[in-house]
Symmetry: C2
Subunit: 250 residues, 2 copies
């Protein structure tokens, strides 16, 4: 399996055809998995915004005041408003604003970035990243596209690449029903390959000014295994989320 970053991509602007930009710079085949950082997907989709577009309501003002009190860091209530507008549920208000986005992803600040922008103060995540992935895929000879982001998680330090949208592959490689080397049932049921591919791609994309938002994974073999469609957990199967809900509503 080989990974390489697509070279010489320009600063991405609203309306740019990402697939065309990629196609012109990389010789892709159908089996390649193309991992595209959400930053450039958002830019191409015009998801830059200004704080002025988010006049803060009472909830946002309360959240910002709360955050500022708890963390000592200046928080713009309009930023909290932007996060609220991108979200369907607030999981935590402090010490950071953790929400579920409209497309089901749980992340700090609804994944709104304040770095690597070209215009405006904010860069919102793509509205429907799997639809973005499908659109990019249509313009590429590659059959599989993943839209990635970098974010943190409980229990483990540091942030890592994850997939937030995907097209042409299922998020999960399903090992159920298969047996181990001794003929026994496997402990691991479903492996989330979309997240594993995104993590791998992030090692090359980086977080800084590298200018490498697109990473190609070549010769990844799915193998003779089933597929599993779920990627974001439903509340029902997410004990940790229920614990957070109960705790933060105290």
């Amino acid at each position: 399996m080989e990974l390489f970053a697509v070279p010489d991509l320009p600063e991405v602007r609203p309306g740019h055809d990402l697939a065309a930009l990629i196609r012109e710079r990389a010789d892709l085949g159908p089996d390649d998995v193309v991992c595209v950082a959400s930053t450039v997907v958002s830019k191409s989709e015009g998801r830059s915004a200004d704080l002025a577009e988010f006049p803060a309501g009472p909830r946002a003002r309360e959240i910002a005041a709360n955050l500022e009190e708890r963390t000592g860091e200046k928080t713009d209530p309009r930023f909290a408003q932007a996060v609220l507008e991108e979200s369907v549920e607030v999981l935590l208000e402090t010490p950071f604003l953790l929400t579920e986005t409209r497309f089901g992803h749980i992340g700090v600040n609804a994944g709104i970035d304040r770095s690597n922008l070209s215009d405006g103060d904010l860069l919102l995540l793509p509205e429907r990243p799997s639809e973005s992935a499908a659109r990019i895929r249509e313009g590429l000879p590659a059959d599989r596209v993943i839209v990635t982001d970098t974010c943190g998680r409980p229990f483990r330090e540091g942030q890592r690449g994850v997939g937030i949208g995907w097209a042409g592959l299922a998020p999960g490689r399903d090992w159920r029903g298969e047996t181990d080397r001794g003929g026994r049932e496997l402990s691991v049921a479903v492996e989330n390959v979309v997240d594993e591919l995104a993590a791998a791609a992030n090692l090359l994309a980086g977080e800084g000014d590298g200018g490498t938002p697109v990473v190609v994974v070549r010769d990844f073999e799915w193998g003779d295994h089933g597929e599993h469609d779920a990627h974001f957990r439903e509340v029902e199967t997410d004990v940790v989320r229920r614990a957070i809900r109960a705790w933060s509503s105290e």
Copy 2:
């Protein structure tokens, strides 16, 4: 960047010299990162065990009864006892047993596997995986070794590869103090490359009877960035963990 699985590894037995087994089958250089599945590290370290070695105390019996009632699945109290003995804190008792292991990793059943074993009923994680990684590294021409496992996480479906031990590299690539393409501060501070490398390796190792527990990552470049030593979160910085504690002690 390139990844390949080390071919033709035998069934690993207690006392096997993993470094020698790897060295004989792969032509490694100093820059390679060698990712070794915890299963084979445990096997080589004699961490197979039998349920009979874990006579259940009252706490284990209570946990097993509780689990059985909640999930409807038969649970051996001796298995709960084994998990308790591997752990320093129980985070959740149901619907699954989530604990912190003695070396700081949070996982279901303290990472005890019941698949891909060669002897016994259980395979415990290595006692100190970073020490295992350092030992393996000593016998290899490669400068960096990661001991991996596959496990689940909150918010996202499916399991993915993570690093539970490491030697010759820091877990985190530190982006603090660097600037983005526009000269602004980065949103992402520390990237956990050990977990990203482990996730990438897991795409080739797989979960089944593939017989590929060792994956080499070649030409990964750290770049001109700092290092960050923390890998497992401390309770103080882990809000989610505090939420679970409060919730499960209700």
